[in-house]
Symmetry: C2
Subunit: 382 residues, 2 copies
C-alpha cells in the first residue's frame, strides 16, 4: 500500500470535518496532503474564516473508530494513491469556486465488489426525479445498451431517471454505480433501500460524505461533480428547468466530458431543461444508447453510419429507370411521349423502361397513359 | 416595367420547355437572359444532350397564349427584373448540380394578392405528410407565433405539417405562402383544393412550373429549394428519415439560412429525421415560435432570455439564510448546533435564521431538531 495509515486516517478526519466539495479544505488537502493540512487546521493561529468551522470539529473526530466502524459494515475508504483510486477524479483539481462546490475529494467511501479503478469506460445517465413514463423508459433503454456494450452506468439513487438507469443496467447484467449525497450506509430516499443494498452487494455505492452523513442540499451539489468526473460523458434524459441533472451536465462540460441530452415532446415540462441544454449548443442530441456510445467512444470505436431509412423499392433501379420513374405523373396518367419528354430520353428507350417498371409495380398503364403504380407511389419524396 | 414583353415571353417559353430546377437551362437563362438562351436552343447545331429535350419542345409552345390564359385565371408571371421579384431567390445563382435540381428559376407563377417582394421576414415551416397529432399541433403553434410576430410563413401544400402550418398562420391572421410542385391552378393533393384556393384568394400560391403542370417527383425536389431560398430559415417540425422536408433543410443550410428542428419523442418515427438533422450539428433545437424568431432575427431583435423556472421560494432569501437552509437535513431532524457546524456559521446567528426560515415554512422544528419544512422540501435541487 503506497498510502500510509496516517495519511488515510488524516483523510478520514477531513472527510468528517469538511463538507463534501469544500474547495478550500479539499484544495489544501490536495496540495499539502491530508497530514499536513490537518496540522495547518490544528496549529495555525490566524485561520481564514472558511477553515475555522472545520477546525472547530477536529476535537470530536476519532478517525480510527470511524474507519473501523465503516470496515465492519463492509465500507472501504479509497484515497488518492490507492490502487483503487479512480484517476478521472483528479480532473477536479482546481475546479470549483469558493462559495460553490468543487475539487478532488479527500477520499471516497465505497460499498460493493466493483472496484473504482475497474469502471472502464463509464457514462452518467441522470435526470429528473419527477420523470414521466417516457423518461423512465428511455433511461432504462439507454442504460441497457450502454451496460451491454460494457460501459459502466453511473447515476444517483433518486426516484425517476436515476432508478430507471440502474434498473436498465442491472437488467442487462452490466455494471452500475450509485453516487450518494448521504453516507453509503444510508438510503435516501428510504424507499430505495432495497435498490441501494442490491447495488452495494453486486456493484458499487459511493459517497464523499462519511457513513452516517445525512442528505443535505450542498451534498447533492457536491455529489453531482463526482458523477460527471467519474464518467466519459453525461446523458440527461429528462430534466425540468431547475433540475440538478443540469448541474451534473454543467460539471461534465467543465471537465471536457461529452454532454448529451435526450429530446422529448416540446410541451413536456420534464423535457424543458434538456431542450434548453440542447439549445445552448454545448450538448449533443442522443436518441438511443448507440448514439451515446458513438460520442463517448475512443476514436474509431462504435462509429455509427448516418441513420438511413431501409432501402426503398426505388433503390434497386438503374439511373435511367429512375429518371423515367421521376417523370411519371403521381395522379393523372400521361402518355409515354410526354414521360419521355420530361425525362429527356428517347421514346423507344422510355417505352422499354416503362414496361420494366410496370412489371415491378412502380408504374401502371391506364387507357390514358402511365402513372405511378401502387408500389411506386408511397416512395415518392417531396 | 423594366422587363421587356419579349424577355417575359421568352421566360414563359423556358418555364414550359425546361423542367423546374433544370440547372443547365436555368443557368444559361440567368447568364444570357431568356431571349438569348432561346436563340441558343433554336439555332445552335451541336446542342449538348441536356439541352436537346428542351429544344425539342420549343415548336409547340405559344407563350402569348400561355401567358394570356394564365392572366385570365388570375395568375401572374413574375420574372427577375420585375418589382415583385423576390431578390432572395438570386441566392440560388450557381447553386445545384447537373443531375440534381438548382439555380434561379426563369420566373414564378403566382396566384394571390400577397406580392412576393412584400414577404418581409419569412420562415419556412415544413415537415412530414404523415405527421402525428403532436407534429400538427406544434406546426400550428409555431406558425401562429411567427405570423403574429409579422413573419410570413412559407410551406408546401401537402397533408400534415404543411397544412397545419398554413392553418396556424391563417388562424393568427398572418401572411402565408404555399409553394407548389404542380401548376398554381392545380391542387395536389386534391383534398387541399379548398385550402389552396383560400391561400390564392388572401395570400399567395406560387410555382415554378407553368399552369397545368402535373406534380412530378423532380418538381417537388425543385420546389424545395424555392421554399428554402424565399425564407430566412427553415423549421422542420416532424420528418421521417426519407422526408422531403430534410431536402428543404439541406437547401436552407446550403443557402446559409437558419436550419431548425423541433424535437419529439425518441420512439416516434415521425421525429427520427429531425433528430438525425439535429445530431448532425448544423441545425438548432427549437421548441416554440419564440425560439425561431430569435434565430432568424436581425441582430438585437427578438432576443430571448435563457429560459428559467419561475422564482422558487429560495430565491428571496439572503445568502446567509440560504447557507443555513442548505445545511438543514432533508428527512431526519438535526439540532441547531449541528446545522451551524455544517453551515460554518455561529450558533446564535443560525438560531435566529432558523426561526425566520420556520416562519416561512422553509424549515420545521421537531423535538429532535430542525429539518426542511413542507415549503422547503420540493425546491431542493439535486
Amino acid at each position: 500500500m503506497s498510502v500510509s495509515d496516517q495519511e488515510r486516517l488524516a483523510r478520514v478526519t477531513i472527510s468528517v470535518v469538511a463538507e463534501p466539495g469544500d474547495v478550500r479544505c479539499l484544495g489544501l488537502t490536495r496540495e499539502l496532503g491530508g497530514i499536513r493540512f490537518l496540522e495547518v487546521l490544528r496549529d495555525q493561529p490566524d485561520l481564514r474564516p472558511e477553515l475555522r468551522a472545520a477546525a472547530g470539529r477536529l476535537a470530536e473526530v476519532q478517525p480510527e473508530r470511524v474507519l473501523e466502524g465503516a470496515v465492519r459494515r463492509g465500507i472501504r475508504f479509497v484515497v488518492p494513491g490507492d490502487d483503487e483510486w479512480p484517476s478521472s477524479l483528479d480532473d477536479l483539481a482546481g475546479a470549483g469556486a469558493l462559495h460553490a462546490r468543487g475539487e478532488v475529494p479527500a477520499g471516497l467511501w465505497v460499498r460493493g465488489p466493483l472496484r473504482l479503478d475497474r469502471l472502464g469506460a463509464a457514462v452518467a445517465v441522470v435526470g429528473s426525479r419527477s420523470s414521466t413514463g417516457y423518461g423512465d423508459q428511455v433511461a432504462g433503454e439507454v442504460a441497457g445498451v450502454l451496460a451491454t456494450a460494457g460501459q459502466t452506468v453511473v447515476s444517483g439513487a433518486a426516484y425517476g431517471v436515476d432508478y430507471a438507469a440502474h434498473r436498465g443496467a442491472v437488467a442487462a447484467e452490466g455494471r452500475t454505480v450509485a453516487v450518494l449525497a448521504c453516507g453509503v450506509d444510508k438510503a435516501y430516499p428510504a424507499a430505495h433501500r432495497q435498490m441501494i443494498d442490491h447495488l452495494a452487494e453486486h456493484h458499487a455505492v459511493v459517497s464523499e460524505a462519511p457513513p452516517g452523513a445525512a442528505p443535505l442540499r450542498i451534498r447533492f451539489l457536491a455529489r453531482n461533480r463526482l458523477i460527471a468526473a467519474l464518467t466519459q460523458g453525461t446523458v440527461v434524459v429528462e430534466a425540468a428547468l431547475r433540475s440538478g441533472a443540469l448541474n451534473t451536465a454543467s460539471w461534465a462540460d467543465r471537465l471536457h466530458r461529452a454532454v448529451m441530452g435526450v429530446p422529448g415532446p416540446v410541451h413536456s415540462a420534464a423535457s424543458e431543461g434538456v431542450h434548453e441544454l440542447l439549445r445552448g449548443g454545448g450538448a449533443s442530441v442522443v436518441t438511443r444508447g448507440e448514439d451515446v456510445l458513438e460520442l463517448v467512444a475512443r476514436s474509431g470505436e462504435h462509429l455509427l453510419d448516418v441513420r438511413r431509412a431501409p432501402d426503398g423499392p426505388r433503390d434497386g433501379l438503374t439511373i435511367r429507370a429512375r429518371q423515367v420513374l421521376d417523370a411519371v405523373p403521381v395522379s393523372s396518367p400521361a402518355p409515354a411521349v410526354s414521360v419521355a419528354r420530361v425525362a429527356g430520353l428517347g421514346l423507344d428507350e422510355v417505352e422499354v423502361l416503362l414496361a420494366g417498371l410496370a412489371l415491378d409495380g412502380h408504374v401502371e398503364r391506364l387507357p390514358a397513359g402511365w402513372r405511378l403504380g401502387g408500389g411506386g407511389r408511397p416512395t415518392i419524396e417531396r
